[in-house]
């Protein structure tokens, strides 16, 4: 595996398999009374969020803590960023604390890649603008594989605002890499030109949704309404909402959250047993533990056995 996780493109299929396998073994630890393992004891993880986040930041925090790392969480608001410090200076300042990893969220595409050039730490992209959100894609793969038992050959439809979604981009790549067939669907105004080059089919109606094994609905952001991308949320819901009528009995439903009830999803499907939405949130912690582990302690060796999490404590830590 590479030293940083900036894009799903950085991961081979084997890398992904290894991370998912590692997450499985951490899930076992999560079931215990004491959920901590000593893997990253004495090492520092910096969570640096230049953009608001609840799920991603809290699950990275929990993941680092459960691996016994020393954790520093910084939000741009109230930090030196507010005082006009440049990103480069900020990163070099924080690097003076010798972090093993920097988890970075930014409103700008490619920002995590820049950070990786300026720090000796491993950089994990926790969302860069509308570009990518690779750990979200990994937790989605993990959640889906647990429920469906496999990924290979699954037919996945990603529905909604593809233009403004980093989740969509990472997931198209990730599902594709694991052998799923990916179709994207949404209003033509919210499908970027040339998206098929990512390796997906493009549809503008839900007419053939029955083909899907998995329906992955994206969040429809209210603020996008100002750009007149869709005439109204009502019209959007009428054309693209996943509801009990459209979601077939055998289909699974996913959503990265937070959900706009009544817009992209109806209440009935959110609460149905077909929905994996809370499983996705739950998976966030173990998958992010697995990512931290693989980047900082895992090396690039072959996948280890499922009982591993108890062993790393006795393993020598890389300098």
């Amino acid at each position: 595996m590479k030293r940083h996780l900036l894009s799903v493109d950085d991961l081979s299929r084997e890398d992904i398999e290894r991370i998912l396998g590692r997450a499985e073994s951490f899930a076992e630890v999560s079931g215990r009374e004491i959920k901590k393992v000593p893997t990253l004891r004495g090492r520092t993880v910096i969570n640096l969020f230049y953009e608001a986040s609840t799920r991603t930041s809290s699950s990275f925090e929990l993941a680092a803590k459960r691996l016994s790392a020393d954790l520093v969480s910084i939000k741009a608001q109230g930090s030196s960023v507010d005082k006009g410090e440049s990103l480069k200076d900020n990163i070099q300042t924080l690097s003076a604390y010798d972090p093993a990893a920097v988890v970075f969220r930014s409103p700008h595409a490619g920002a995590a890649g820049l950070v990786a050039r300026w720090t000796p730490a491993s950089v994990i992209n926790a969302g860069d603008g509308k570009h990518e959100h690779p750990t979200q894609a990994l937790l989605d793969l993990y959640t889906l594989r647990r429920r469906a038992g496999r990924l290979e050959g699954l037919n996945v439809w990603i529905v909604g605002d593809l233009l403004h979604s980093r989740v969509a981009r990472s997931n198209i790549l990730a599902f594709g890499r694991m052998g799923c067939r990916v179709t994207v669907c949404g209003p033509p105004t919210l499908i970027p030109r040339g998206i098929e080059s990512l390796g997906c089919e493009v549809r503008i109606t839900l007419d053939d949704l029955a083909q899907a094994d998995v329906v992955y609905a994206l969040r429809m952001q209210h603020e996008r309404m100002t750009g007149s991308f869709v005439p109204s949320l009502r019209e959007y819901a009428a054309q693209y909402q996943i509801d009990g009528r459209r979601l077939g009995a055998g289909q699974l439903l996913m959503h990265p959250g937070p959900v706009n009830r009544g817009v992209e999803l109806s209440a009935e499907v959110i609460d149905s047993p077909q929905a994996l939405i809370t499983d996705q949130v739950e998976s966030g912690v173990v998958v992010r533990m697995a990512v931290l582990y693989e980047l900082l302690a895992g090396g690039s060796g072959p996948p280890r056995r499922a009982d591993d999490p108890s062993r790393p404590a006795s393993e020598p830590q890389p300098a």
């Binding site: 440049s86 480069k88 930014s106 595409a109 490619g110 920002a111 403004h164 981009r169 970027p192």
Partner: protein, 451 residues
């Protein structure tokens, strides 16, 4: 235009060159020159052209042994940002013109999007005065079309023209309002200077920072569609035809725009256009790594667009190559792609880059590239430099075999945001003579030395 406007260009008082360039390959397609010869510069003019080794050096004249080098008319760049006044930390008249001279340029036009904007005769006057003290090569200053480049009210174009504006442009920004564009074209009858246009429709460009296409889709970065440029060019050609004005379209980037320009040319309209080396040589594929050295406006477009630009350059629809040299401070370019400012430097690499990627592989002839590199002043009524006897001496000496890496020994420019940085190019400017004076000499290229 029969009378040239070269008197509008300013330069520091440099000694007139007296030198003999011996055994260079003289190439000036317009003058019918293409072969080895001697060229004698005396009193700042081309005094004599002779067979190789035939001319005698007058007393006190420098002899330049130029065997193996090419002598072209010095290039003319109609599109340079000197960042003065306001951002002298990025470039000033001295560094910008030295950079131009190092690239083989014998004359440039500076853009008015400075701070303050060049929208009054007093700002223009102070710039011209400074150029007379600092500029290494003749430098013309364009003035804004609208006050503060806000697109609302015309500048005092007649007075600005009298004060020596070489042309008018709101470069960096489009003239959003068709009504203002029309007024400017009507008023052009009085101001009698070319109006140069940065063409894009802000409503279509939106928040875009790169070409809209598969790379922007992959990166999740907002795109600028090709039609943002071409629809505005179409609008302004219609308006120019209606008002019988003449316009110059800056930095053409899209195939659609080339097609619009072809139709205008076929209809006999007075519209000229330029292309930059980066648009001719690079595409949006370069942006995959979100390197801000590939961020500029208009953006690098697709391979298909690039091919259309090359065809346009060949046919003459794109009559000249312009650099759109746009220096930026290092810290400003060291920001995420979406945040960093648009623009790249290019004066020092322009010829070598075009030579390497288009002439060496045989896509364009050397003669055609020299024509397009020297024609930048024509839309503005400036004379095209020539090696012909009697003309003011504007010559660049180029070693077409020399390989070098862009930026290997720094830049003459104060900024280093060059789109070709780190690339190995073939073709190195050794010496530039601009309007009769030596403006640049490569350090190792000594007086009297055998090249």
């Amino acid at each position: 235009m029969s009378i040239t406007l070269d008197s509008l260009l300013d330069r520091a008082d440099l000694a007139s060159a007296g030198l003999l360039i011996r055994r260079a390959h003289l190439l000036d397609p317009r003058a019918g020159l293409d072969g080895p010869g001697d060229l004698l510069v005396r009193g700042g003019a081309v005094a004599e052209i002779g067979a190789p080794g035939a001319l005698e050096a007058p007393a006190h004249a420098e002899v330049v042994e130029a065997e193996g080098l090419h002598a072209f008319p010095a290039f003319v760049d109609p599109h340079v940002h000197l960042r003065t006044p306001g951002r002298e930390d990025e470039e000033d008249i001295e560094t910008g013109t030295r950079s131009a001279a190092a690239g083989g340029y014998g004359a440039i036009l500076a853009m008015p999007n400075t701070d303050p904007v060049v929208d009054s005769a007093s700002v223009l006057g102070s710039l011209r005065e400074r150029a007379r003290a600092e500029a290494r090569i003749p430098t013309g200053f364009t003035a804004a079309v609208t006050m503060g480049q806000r697109g609302e009210q015309l500048t005092e174009m007649a007075e600005l023209a009298q004060a020596g504006a070489a042309g008018f442009t709101d470069d960096g920004l489009p003239l959003r309002s068709a009504s203002i564009m029309r007024q400017a074209l009507a008023y052009q009858r009085l101001a009698r200077r070319c109006i140069a246009l940065h063409e894009e429709d802000p409503a279509l460009s939106g928040d875009g920072v790169m070409h809209e296409g598969e790379v922007s889709a992959l990166l999740g970065v907002a795109g600028i569609p090709s039609v943002s440029e071409s629809t505005m060019v179409a609008r302004d050609i219609e308006l120019a035809a209606y008002e019988d004005g003449f316009i110059h379209v800056q930095h053409v980037s899209a195939r659609q725009t080339v097609e619009v320009l072809e139709r205008a040319r076929a209809a006999g309209l007075r519209v000229t256009a330029e292309a930059t080396p980066h648009h001719l040589l690079l595409t949006h594929e370069c942006v995959r790594g979100l390197d801000t050295h590939y961020k500029m406006n208009p953006p690098l477009r697709s391979e298909d667009d690039r091919q259309a630009l090359i065809d346009g350059l060949r046919s003459g629809v794109l009559g000249c190559i312009a650099t759109d040299h746009a220096p930026h401070a290092r810290e400003e370019k060291e920001e995420p792609f979406e945040v960093a400012p648009m623009g790249v430097t290019g004066l020092e690499s322009a010829f070598a880059a075009v030579h390497t990627d288009l002439v060496v592989p045989g896509v364009l002839t050397l003669g055609l590239v020299v024509e397009r590199m020297t024609a930048g002043g024509e839309p503005f009524g400036l004379a095209i430099p020539t090696l012909a006897k009697g003309a003011p001496a504007s010559v660049c000496l180029v070693d077409l075999e020399a390989e070098w890496e862009v930026g290997e020994s720094g830049y003459e420019s104060r900024s280093s945001n060059c789109a070709f940085a780190g690339r190995r190019l073939v073709g190195r400017v050794r010496m530039t003579i601009a309007a009769g004076a030596v403006a640049f000499r490569e350090r190792s290229f000594a007086i009297g030395a055998v090249a």
